[in-house]
């Protein structure tokens, strides 16, 4: 139950105020309480204001003077009637007091007259005039004036003090880091490049040092090798020469010994062989051999040659005769046909014989022409010996030759044919 607050200051003002907290009104379900001992323990049922009879619903202005359905108060009625009468009377009195125009005279009528300067026609119809207004179509619209809205709101000012917006040192740090970092990085790169080059150079220097030394060592060893080898070669050569000489000397000694031995019995054998060779000769014997016997042979030769020459001449004579005869008999013998095979054999034999004949003839002719050179050189001796032979063989043959002459010209026939 809300407590009602009364205004404690009211006695001076003589007003009554009543305030209460808004509360929902409970509805009266039971008119009579069941038991008195229960003040408000069961839940209080509140009534819905929408269905409450006491709340006036609908329009309220038509209900203003609704008399109550019970008996009206007679005093009340009288008071009202009196108030009415008084009001009426007041009104009548006021009407009477008001000045009015007097009544028109007889035969006249009051007419309304206008007394202004300009007469107005008074009619029921209201005078209407149409007016229209239009802005000039081509008039430039002036620029809209700058709209500055009216300042609304409160003016507030602010001041940025040192260090409030940002902290410079903190902010500048990343930027500085980047700038300085990049610069240092670039310079470090350059320095590192130089350092790298320098260290490469240094290592190269060390390497070159070692390499040069190694190379020199290699060359020195090569040189040493070469010299030692050459020295060895030379020594070997020397040694070999020594050995060679040694051998040679040994051989020479051996050869000398052998030669001595070999030639020990040289003298006797020399003498023997000389003797065998006929170098120790008996002068008389030699003389006979050299002088006498060749002369003798030459003489014999000459004699033989003479006889041969004679026979040759004879042969020539015979031949000429035979040839003459042949040339006479030839045409007759042409008719005789058969060549006999022995003739063939005889033919070449005949040729050979004729050649031998010619040689013989030449041979025969030349000793006749030549002066006797018989005693000359021993080489002639075998030649003469041969010619002697030839002569001796020819001696045996001329008999056969004469027998063959007849066969020969038959053979010659063939040749000439």
């Amino acid at each position: 139950v809300a407590s009602a607050l009364t205004d404690r200051a009211s006695p001076a003002m003589a007003t009554y105020t009543y305030t209460s907290r808004p509360r929902a009104l409970p509805c009266q379900r039971r008119r009579y309480r069941d038991n008195l001992m229960q003040p408000a323990e069961e839940p209080v049922r509140y009534g819905n204001i929408m269905y409450d009879r006491r709340v006036i619903r609908g329009n309220t202005y038509a209900l203003q003077a609704e008399p109550p359905p019970g008996q009206p108060d007679p005093a009340e009625i009288q008071r009202r009637q009196q108030a009415k009468r008084r009001a009426l009377a007041k009104r009548r009195a006021q009407e009477q007091l008001r000045p009015r125009t007097p009544e028109p005279v007889e035969g006249r009528k009051h007419v309304d007259v206008q007394t202004e300067l300009y007469l107005e026609e008074i009619a029921d119809r209201i005078i209407e005039v149409d007016m229209e207004c239009q802005t000039d179509a081509f008039l430039d619209r002036p620029p809209t004036p700058l709209f500055i809205p009216a300042k609304t709101g409160k003016d507030v000012a602010t001041q940025i003090l040192e260090g409030e917006l940002f902290d410079f040192d903190l902010e500048v740090k990343p930027m500085l880091e980047v700038l300085v970092g990049k610069t240092i990085e670039q310079s470090l790169l350059e320095v590192m490049e130089e350092e790298e080059l320098a260290s490469l150079q240094a290592s190269q220097y060390a390497f070159e040092e070692l390499r040069n030394v190694e190379l020199a060592e290699v060359q020195r060893l090569e040189e040493q090798e070469r010299r030692h080898r050459e020295e060895k070669e030379r020594r070997k050569q020397q040694q070999w020469q020594v050995v060679h000489k040694h051998h040679e000397t040994a051989e020479k000694i051996a050869a000398r010994a052998f030669a001595q031995r070999y030639l020990a019995d040289l003298l006797p054998s020399v003498f023997d062989s000389l003797r065998d060779g006929g170098y120790f000769y008996d002068p008389v014997e030699r003389d006979i051999e050299i002088g006498f016997l060749p002369w003798l042979m030459n003489e014999v030769d000459k004699t033989m040659e003479y006889s041969i020459v004679g026979r040759t001449v004879l042969d020539m004579l015979i031949r000429e005769v035979v040839e003459k005869r042949l040339s006479l008999y030839e045409p007759k013998e042409d008719r005789q046909s058969p060549p006999k095979p022995e003739d063939g054999l005889g033919g070449p034999g005949g040729v050979r014989d004729s050649l031998v004949d010619y040689a013989f003839q030449d041979h025969g002719a030349s000793p006749a022409q030549r002066p006797l050179p018989d005693r000359d050189s021993p080489p002639r001796a075998p030649h003469d010996g041969r010619s002697v032979e030839g002569v001796s063989s020819q001696e045996g043959r001329p008999m056969e030759e004469e027998d063959e002459q007849t066969r020969k010209f038959l053979g010659r026939e063939e040749l000439f044919q």
Binding site: F166, E171, L189, E190, E193, L197, Q204, Y205, E209, L210, N212, V213, L215, A216, E217, Q219, R220, E222, E223, Q224, R227, E231
Partner: protein, 340 residues
């Protein structure tokens, strides 16, 4: 907090002499195209940008892959000095990387570079010789230089170039002569080197001695060195103040005294004493070369006699820090104490 405001303007051009380098993998192809452009300024800017990029070996590889070398070869014949200088600089930077060197050999850049040997611009020639020097560090590169017939012209140039370039030339020649020294010997390199040995500049002296080491490796070289009487000069230079010069000279002696004539020439020039002093040098290379030279001289009987007194020094060197020196000392002792 600060907000990221994207500016309406392009970023300021920090280096107007360099062409703008495109992002990522477009950088090199774009520069390659710019190299071929007709406009001189574009070419120069592209070259400057390329110089900066070529320090990275991956870029070098990319550049060779897309054929930059052809354009660079064409630019070597350009009339403008700046273009030529920059092109030679780019080529020199590329030659410091192995990829670049291999690319040079494949694309026959040596011949194109050789046209610039007589270029009026000294910077151009210097870059050219730097490129050759780096190329010669690679054995196949040195072979390439030799087979392109440049050695006689390089030897001839030795007389005419200024000192800095002479040093580069000597380096290049030293590397090339390790490969093949016949052409150099034929073009009178030994007398030139003899003159350089007497130069005032210690760098040149040491490098000339280094080149002599290389040239006296083949037998013909040793003979020429002996014939031109270089050995007495070398012995004299053993007393030089600069350690590097001493080391290289000892090396040259070591190579030249392999032949018998060389040995006797050195002994006649009293080489043993300075070499013995060099044994206490601080530079390990000097000690090593000195030991080797003394070993050579100990092969000869006179040398052996003289050195037998100094065997203790060699024994001390056997305990040296460097392994090579130890070994060399052992060999030297063996040679000195050898009996036929």
């Amino acid at each position: 907090m600060a907000d990221a405001r994207i500016s309406m303007y392009l970023p300021p051009d920090i280096n107007p002499t360099q062409a703008a380098i495109a992002y990522g993998c477009r950088a090199l192809p774009k520069l390659n195209e710019e190299l071929q452009s007709e406009d001189l300024v574009t070419r120069q800017k592209a070259l400057m940008a390329l110089c900066g990029l070529m320090h990275d070996p991956e870029h070098v590889y990319m550049a060779i892959h897309i054929g930059c070398l052809e354009n660079l070869k064409a630019l070597l014949k350009d009339t403008n000095d700046m273009v030529r200088i920059k092109t030679t600089e780019v080529l020199y930077i590329m030659a410091t990387h192995n990829v670049g060197r291999v690319g040079f050999l494949e694309h026959d850049v040596i011949r194109a570079l050789s046209f610039l040997l007589n270029d009026p611009q000294s910077l151009c020639r210097e870059n050219l010789h730097l490129a050759f020097k780096h190329l010669a560090q690679l054995p196949t590169g040195a072979q390439g230089i030799v087979s392109s017939g440049l050695i006689p012209s390089l030897v001839w140039k030795l007389q005419r170039e200024e000192e800095g370039v002479q040093e580069l030339l000597l380096d290049t020649l030293a590397a090339c002569l390790m490969e093949d020294a016949t052409e150099a010997l034929a073009s009178r390199a030994v007398p030139f080197l003899k003159e350089k040995l007497l130069s005032a500049n210690s760098n040149i002296r040491s490098k000339a001695a280094g080149t002599l080491i290389a040239i006296s490796i083949p037998l013909e070289g040793k003979n020429q060195v002996w014939k031109h009487d270089v050995i007495p000069i070398l012995v004299h230079l053993l007393r030089d103040k600069v350690a590097e010069v001493q080391a290289n000279v000892a090396g040259a002696l070591m190579n030249a005294t392999v032949t018998t004539e060389g040995k006797y020439a050195a002994l006649n020039a009293e080489a043993i004493h300075p070499l013995l002093q060099l044994l206490c040098s601080s530079l390990s290379k000097a000690r090593l070369n000195a030991i080797k030279a003394l070993t050579m001289l100990a092969e000869a009987p006179e040398g052996r006699k003289l050195l037998q007194a100094h065997v203790p020094t060699f024994r001390a060197l056997e305990k040296d820090t460097s392994a090579a020196v130890k070994q060399a000392a052992q060999i030297a002792i063996k040679v000195i104490e050898w009996k036929p």
